[in-house]
């Protein structure tokens, strides 16, 4: 089986957002960059399939030179090689999906895995959009995955409001992973050493223009710290009254 996992580099969850000089993006000067947390579930899913059935696992990342770090991180967890679609102009989800579709269109993928969303722009779009561009079926927000390689059939569960949908797909297909799908492994020391000699191929992006444009980025209106009503249960009647009379939410 040929598996591809698309991985992205994002600011970590502890990042305090500071608006950059351009007023359209964040100031990245003091930001710690990590492998997108949802992509770890996609990496782990691919590695479990490799462990079980044998597969070639290739990681794909779009971006500047720093994305090699997340390719190495994924390779340290396992897998075979990386593809770095080198560009300083990432654009938007449409542009990224186009670049990925361009690189993978003749790659002979049996399955392409994504994290369900990147925790920077939160579009939750690239995987499904790339699937459409490649003419492949897809399932997003997947929390359970069963692959029947012989029947070329994938059955998975995806999260919906208050429950789960069971989705059946034919291979090749695109899956985007949600927390709960698995417990991502930590890279072992041996894995980290091995990753250093695994090949990362640099490829040029296809020419594609983003379809959207950020006009302005701002911080959300700051919340004012509210009233402290007390230090024990004697404050409860006042809380109930305020929720009823002032907030009018009950």
């Amino acid at each position: 089986m040929k598996l591809f996992v698309c991985v992205n580099q994002v600011p970590d969850t502890e990042t305090k957002v500071k608006i950059g000089q351009d007023g359209k993006s964040i100031d990245r000067s003091e930001v710690n960059l990590i492998l997108n947390p949802y992509d770890e579930f996609a990496v782990e899913a691919a590695l479990q399939l490799k462990d079980k059935n044998g597969a070639e696992v290739t990681y794909v990342s779009v971006g500047g030179d720093s994305v090699k770090e997340v390719l190495r991180k994924a390779l340290a967890m396992g897998g075979d090689r990386g593809i770095h679609v080198k560009t300083d102009n990432i654009g938007d989800s449409y542009a990224v999906a186009s670049m990925i579709a361009f690189v993978l269109k003749d790659a002979g993928a049996d399955m392409i895995l994504f994290g369900k969303q990147s925790i920077d722009y939160d579009d939750a779009a690239v995987g499904t959009m790339a699937a459409e561009m490649l003419g492949l079926p897809s399932a997003s927000v997947v929390v359970k995955l069963d692959v029947d390689e012989n029947a070329r059939k994938v059955t998975c569960e995806r999260e919906i409001e208050g429950g789960k949908e069971t989705v059946e797909l034919t291979m090749p297909c695109v899956i985007s992973a949600q927390k709960g799908l698995n417990e991502p492994r930590y890279p072992s020391l041996k894995g980290i050493m091995a990753a250093k000699s695994k090949p990362i191929q640099e490829v040029a992006p296809s020419a594609v223009e983003p379809l959207t444009e950020v006009a302005e980025m701002k911080k959300p209106p700051a919340k004012q710290a509210g009233k402290i009503l007390g230090t024990d249960k004697s404050a409860v009647p006042e809380l109930v009254r305020l929720l009823h009379e002032e907030a009018k939410v009950i």
Binding site: S93, E168, L211, G226, K227, V236, V240
Partner: protein
């Protein structure tokens, strides 16, 4: 110009997000001088589709078929895209629900349309539309413009007002479909609901969340009790989920759900930045925590610096009384 509002249904009944999207489409249409029309996909949906009329939609197109009773990302995307093309609807609005978030990127890819996802405001000015949407789970907001002729938007649930229904019925017209087996390469074959009786986090009007300060999974019982009194959903902090006390789908925060309920009650949650990102757009926030310096108090409208084990049962009891449920 037309705006196509995707009206999500389940089991033939339109969901609340369908009315939110319909109303937003009507308002946007007014701002840019367009006509808002509705689209419903499913099996036996024609009857309820006319309800959209009460929200200002004059005409609803219905894609009917037994094979469409359960969601199929590929088939639904074809139906929506074909409808957008044949109706010359250059703008398509979806809810940012599980279905809408799956469908919109596919439709955008198919129509070569720019996508603005999870919008919390739409404003039509002259010919252009500015969409406001959170990034970094709400730590930032961007104003986004779509430059392609065709545009796809998904609207965050619980944010856009559905307006008030006025009882007018929309005209419903059935669409001619040309679906093949090859359009169903991905299809839902079953649906299971896990939490009967409690609303989903992303749809809930009230959420009661617990954190690490509760000390263990058993103590979530009092969170659930309070939630049930309030008709609320139950959420959890990442710490509580990572400790295995709650299932991952309950997690609120940057690597969990981003929520905007009318009331968010944070119990024994300190308020790590990634948690605040996921819930600080709630309309009212109540925090109950022993630590007076906990960051959660910085975003809370009302706080009690006290022991949750003492305060929460009392709050449940008094709410029961106030709501006439005792």
């Amino acid at each position: 110009m037309r705006i196509l509002a995707f009206a999500e249904q389940r089991d033939g009944k339109l969901k609340k997000v369908a009315f939110e999207v319909a109303h937003a489409a009507v308002q946007l249409a007014g701002q840019i001088g367009a006509e808002a029309v509705g689209l419903v996909i499913g099996n036996g949906v024609e009857k309820d589709a006319s309800e959209l009329g009460g929200f200002g939609i004059g005409k609803v197109y219905a894609a009917e078929g037994e094979r469409l009773s359960l969601y199929s990302t590929t088939a639904y995307a074809k139906v929506v895209s074909d409808a957008a093309e044949s109706l010359s609807a250059d703008i398509v609005l979806f809810p940012a629900s599980a279905m809408g978030k799956d469908l919109a990127p596919r439709v955008a890819g198919r129509l070569k349309a720019g996508l603005a996802a999870d919008c919390i405001a739409l404003k039509g000015e002259g010919g252009s539309i500015v969409a406001t949407r959170p990034v970094y789970a709400g730590k930032g907001l961007i104003d986004l413009k779509i430059n392609s002729p065709r545009k796809v938007f998904t609207l965050r649930p619980n944010v856009f007002s559905p307006g008030g229904a006025n009882g007018t019925a929309a005209t419903v017209e059935r669409l001619n479909l040309s679906l093949q087996d090859s359009d169903f390469l991905s299809k839902v074959i079953g649906v299971t609901f896990t939490k009967a009786g409690r609303p989903d986090l992303t749809e809930a009007n009230i959420i009661v969340s617990g954190g690490r300060g509760l000390g263990g999974p058993d103590n979530f019982k009092m969170i659930e009790d309070l939630a049930d009194v309030l008709g609320a959903a139950v959420g959890a902090s990442r710490a509580a989920v990572d400790a295995g006390w709650r299932p991952h789908e309950d997690q609120v925060g940057q690597t969990g759900k981003t929520v905007s309920p009318s009331l968010y009650v944070a119990v024994a949650i300190s308020g790590a930045i990634q948690h605040l990102a996921g819930m600080s757009s709630s309309k009212f926030i109540v925090a109950i925590n022993k630590d007076k310096d906990a960051p959660i108090f910085q975003v809370a409208d009302y706080g009690i610096v006290g022991d949750a084990f003492e305060v929460i049962p009392e709050l449940s009891a008094q709410m029961k009384k106030a709501l006439g449920k005792d």
